[in-house]
């Protein structure tokens, strides 16, 4: 402020001295003045709208669901005085308050999320709001543990969700991770123990308002559950699938292209809850080549905004989940959907080209969902893949040791690796035990990918020629 005053003073002095022609000079000065839109609330970006959120209507219950759904699997953490970690409840409260204040009303969690703390933390924050202001979604998880497979164990898990979320009804209850362990796993987990029948009764009793499932992996399971509906054995209210402009055609690993999944759901008028709109952040960090295409079309839009617009543009989508750890992400996503600008034809074409570029770039298809963690031998699996993928997206993954940037990129990979992941948690420590493999919803062959990262690191360390 002081600086500005001084400037104005000197201007004034200058005008005094100049005397004549003051009008002209004044006009010139006004012309030079930059248009300053910066305000305390929204900065140059403008305010975050509180009342423009796009809502989708649930066909069955007529719920007005916000297009932006809050994924509660990446809550911010803080250090405890004892040296451990815990959910940063203050930050969670703040994020949820902000979300609800800006029209977000769908909150998605599950018992194992955030090391098992997600439901409790989410419940605490939601408890501070009227129950009719939000929809809560949680799941009957399929995670390891023989005692959880029985009816008693499953029912205990179900009851625990009510307790932890502090609610007496659950808006969306989903069978977790259909397809991850094939048909046999599906039968064992939900049919043979009578759990599905129990949940259908619970829906009749009104304790579950919508019943559905989340899908990863074996498409036979997907088809089976839809066939069950065709045979009128069970009706599904909503299904959660992975959908983004990459997965639409190029589903990763053993996943099925979203194009097929969405088509099948639409045929049956089942609305989709979308997960992984950003592929665990990878679509927010598309490589330079891809980003160039996006920026050429809309210089001011981020790659993340493109991805969210894509996921939201499909009319059969009920809500798009995003695991937002930081307020800035939440704000950006609220802006994107307040209101949603649907993608037009040329924009779809741009994203198709970007998807093709991504398909050629050798990423490790990890979405950092943490399902594989903790690795019993201490590896930081998502951390390792994240580092590798960042290098790929920055186009610094060397294809040859004769690359002119060899020294620079070698250093960035190795030094960055040690920074991102402690030595004892790096890919070199993987012993290929394979325990993580069944947990990966992307069906990644994690030990094999570890070898790939480690081989690259060794090539660089030993300065081998390649």
């Amino acid at each position: 402020m002081e600086k500005k005053d001084i400037k104005e003073l000197t201007r004034r002095d200058f005008l005094k001295i100049a005397g004549a022609g003051a009008v002209l000079t004044g006009a010139a000065l006004a012309g030079c003045k930059p248009r300053n839109k910066v305000s305390a609330e929204g900065g140059a970006l403008g305010d975050v709208p509180t009342d423009k959120m796009e809502y989708r209507v649930n066909h069955n219950t007529s719920d007005k669901v916000s297009l932006l759904g809050y994924g509660c699997m990446r809550w911010p953490m803080r250090k405890t005085s004892g040296g451990g970690e815990e959910v940063d409840q203050d930050a969670v409260n703040e994020l949820i308050d902000y979300a609800i204040g800006h029209g977000v009303n769908f909150f998605d969690t599950a018992p194992p999320y955030v090391r098992g703390w997600s439901e409790t933390a989410t419940g605490k924050a939601l408890k501070r709001h009227p129950r009719d202001k939000f929809f809560v979604c949680t799941k009957l998880s399929t995670h390891r543990g023989a005692e959880l497979q029985t009816f008693q164990g499953s029912r205990a898990l179900y009851e625990k969700s009510f307790k932890d979320l502090q609610v007496d009804y659950i808006d969306y209850y989903l069978l977790h991770n259909i397809g991850i362990s094939g048909m046999q796993g599906l039968m064992q987990r939900f049919y043979d123990n009578g759990m599905l029948d129990f949940l259908i009764k619970e829906r009749i009793a009104g304790r579950i308002r919508n019943l559905g499932w989340t899908f990863h992996g074996d498409v036979k399971c997907f088809d089976y559950l839809l066939a069950q509906q065709d045979e009128r054995k069970v009706l599904w209210d909503a299904v959660m699938i992975q959908l983004n402009y990459y997965d639409w055609k190029y589903a990763t690993g053993m996943n099925t292209p979203a194009e097929y999944l969405m088509g099948e759901l639409e045929k049956r008028n089942i609305q989709a809850i979308v997960m992984e709109p950003l592929l665990g952040g990878r679509l927010a960090r598309v490589n330079r080549q891809g980003l160039k295409l996006l920026k050429e079309t809309h210089p001011e839009d981020s790659a993340a905004k493109w991805a969210f617009r894509y996921a939201g543009s499909h009319p059969n989508v009920l809500t798009v989940l995003s695991g937002m750890t930081y307020l800035e992400h939440l704000q950006e996503n609220i802006r994107t959907y307040s209101p949603l600008e649907r993608l037009n034809g040329p924009e779809y074409e741009v994203l198709e080209q970007v998807a093709e570029i991504l398909n050629d770039s050798n990423y490790i298809q990890c979405t950092e969902c943490q399902y594989c963690m903790p690795c019993p031998y201490g590896l930081d699996i998502p951390g390792i893949f994240r580092h590798y993928n960042i290098i790929v997206s920055e186009e610094k993954r060397l294809k040859s040791s004769k690359d002119p940037n060899y020294d620079k990129y070698r250093r960035e990979f190795l030094v960055g690796y040690d920074r991102a992941v402690p030595k004892l948690r790096q890919a070199s420590q993987c012993n290929s035990c394979g325990r993580c493999k069944p947990d990966c919803p992307q069906r990644l062959d994690i030990p094999k990918e570890m070898l790939r990262v480690d081989k690259y690191a060794e090539q660089l360390k030993q300065k081998m020629e390649f």
Binding site: P112, R115, G116, P376, C433, K463
Partner: protein, 503 residues
């Protein structure tokens, strides 16, 4: 002028030598490795007689310039003494002539010679000023330097710069740390009080060079006509070798620092060839009556009990949840019957004979493999262990830096053909046995394919596999031990070969 040259060159050598012990990137060694090789004791241990002769001739020509410029412990003592002098209110002249403590001096020299002939390297290690300073730098300064580096690299990281990278800071040996601290305390206190006492009573290098320097051609001498016997030179002599009353200088103790020349107000002290001097001006010989009382022994080896912190194991939660990191227990050092020493050492006895325990290799090892031994037979000499890393194929740093040839230089290609140890499998520790999972770590990381996987339960279909070692192919690099997921003791560990063999 002479004094200024001496100070400037000493400062350069001292700083570079210190940095050699601090630099963990291996950059400085490329240019200044020779600074460690011109040190006297390392030259003797390396049987480098040519260099010994050059240093002797150099001393015969100029006096003990070595002690004032090349020897890092000497320069360190000068620094301490200088600070001590400034603290005394700026008054110059806190020293005075004292008689030579010949019994102690020559006794120490005799002890060193006996130790050298009898291969009792520990005594030489303790007395060698270069190694003594090396241990101070490696054990006391290097951790501080590295911690500072880590702080800076943390800043660099926040700025997204890759210029600096963090490194491990750890105490490699408490015994060695204790000895370094004791050396620093002993030489520091002596220097603080009396200047170069250590160099002229205990240090065998000082005594050897003193024997030569008493006949040196260039030497400081008093001009009887100009000298007023004011005693200023005597009070400023940190070696306490000027007897201004009798106008004599004990050249065997003079470290050629030129302080006396600068301090003389009458230009009566000169540094000139002795040929022109009259015989009558010859210094008095060191007196035979030595006062041995108060001789400082620095061989109070500290044995610090090292209580290992007991790490608690955290029980896995009943419901498997997402995220979090499993705790990694620290590895413990297995009992090795034969210590493992680097490829260039050729054999354990060979290394024991030549090593002065300066620990330059220990501070240079980029893989956290080398550390000072706590075993009495090779106290403070380097040995290898693989809790924090293994002897990586691309590294030959220790052989490059060693000034005594205890670790001879070797190329990366030669390294692949030298076996410094062999692997031993401990089935009970293996996670294939313990956790019933198929682990392939050791097999995958073995650079010589010495490990193959065989059925744990022969005859059983799809049996889990355990490692089988072909020690004919093992080079002893320790990759298998380092990467073994069994903790705290690896299921596969290395034993040293007393004499290295070729594969």
């Amino acid at each position: 002028m002479l004094r200024k040259i001496r100070i400037a060159s000493a400062a350069v050598v001292f700083v570079l030598l210190t940095l050699l012990f601090l630099d963990f990137t291996g950059t400085l060694h490329l240019y200044f490795y020779w600074l460690t090789k011109v040190q006297l004791v390392p030259a003797i241990l390396a049987h480098n007689m040519a260099l010994f002769a050059i240093l002797a001739l150099f001393t015969l020509l100029l006096g003990r310039v070595y002690c004032s410029v090349i020897c890092p412990l000497g320069v360190m003592q000068d620094c301490v003494s200088n600070i001590s002098g400034r603290r005394g209110g700026g008054q110059k002249g806190r020293f005075g002539f004292s008689k030579a403590r010949s019994k102690l001096r020559y006794g120490m020299l005799a002890l060193s010679i006996i130790a050298f002939v009898a291969h009792v390297n520990i005594i030489i290690s303790l007395l060698d000023p270069y190694a003594g300073y090396g241990r101070i730098a490696a054990n006391l300064l290097a951790p501080l330097y590295r911690a500072g580096n880590n702080l800076l690299s943390w800043f660099a990281e926040t700025l997204n710069s890759y210029a600096l990278y963090p490194t491990d800071v750890w105490i490699k040996s408490w015994v060695s740390l204790g000895i370094a601290a004791a050396t620093l305390a002993a030489t520091g206190i002596l220097a603080w009080r009396d200047g170069r006492t250590y160099c002229n009573t205990i240090c065998p290098v000082g005594t050897i060079l003193g024997l030569i320097s008493r006949f040196s051609i260039f030497r400081p001498a008093l001009d009887a006509e100009k000298c007023t016997r004011c005693g200023l030179c005597e009070k400023g002599c940190k070696a306490s070798c000027i007897d201004s009353a009798n106008m004599t200088i004990d050249l065997s103790r003079c470290v050629t620092c030129f302080n006396c020349i600068e301090s003389c107000n009458f230009k009566a002290m000169r540094y000139a060839p002795a040929l022109r001097e009259k015989r009558s001006k010859q210094p008095i010989a060191a007196s035979g009556e030595a006062d041995d009382k108060g001789g400082v022994s620095r061989r109070n080896v500290l044995a610090i009990a090292w209580a290992m912190a007991v790490t608690e194991t955290v029980k896995a939660p009943l419901l498997q949840v997402d995220g979090g990191l499993a705790e990694i227990k620290d590895k413990k050092i297995p009992v090795r019957k034969v210590p493992i020493v680097p490829p260039g050492a050729q054999s354990l006895p060979n290394m024991n004979r030549h090593c002065s325990a300066c620990q330059l290799c220990v501070s240079s090892c980029p893989n956290s493999v080398l550390r000072p031994s706590s075993k009495l037979t090779m106290l403070m000499q380097p040995e290898m262990s693989f809790e924090r890393g293994y002897c990586r194929p691309e590294c030959n740093e220790c052989g490059e830096v060693c000034p005594t040839n205890a670790i001879g230089s070797f190329t990366r290609a030669e390294k692949t053909a030298i076996s410094i140890g062999y692997a031993v499998f401990v089935k009970e520790n293996c996670i294939v046995t313990r956790d019933n999972v198929q682990c392939k770590s050791c097999e995958r990381h073995c650079p010589t394919e010495a490990i193959t996987l065989v059925d744990r339960d022969p005859g059983v279909e799809n049996s889990l596999k355990i490692p089988a070692i072909n020690n004919e192919k093992c080079n002893g690099c320790g990759a298998c031990e380092y990467y073994c997921p069994a903790r705290p003791f690896s299921a596969i560990f290395l034993e040293g070969r007393k004499t290295h063999s070729s594969i």
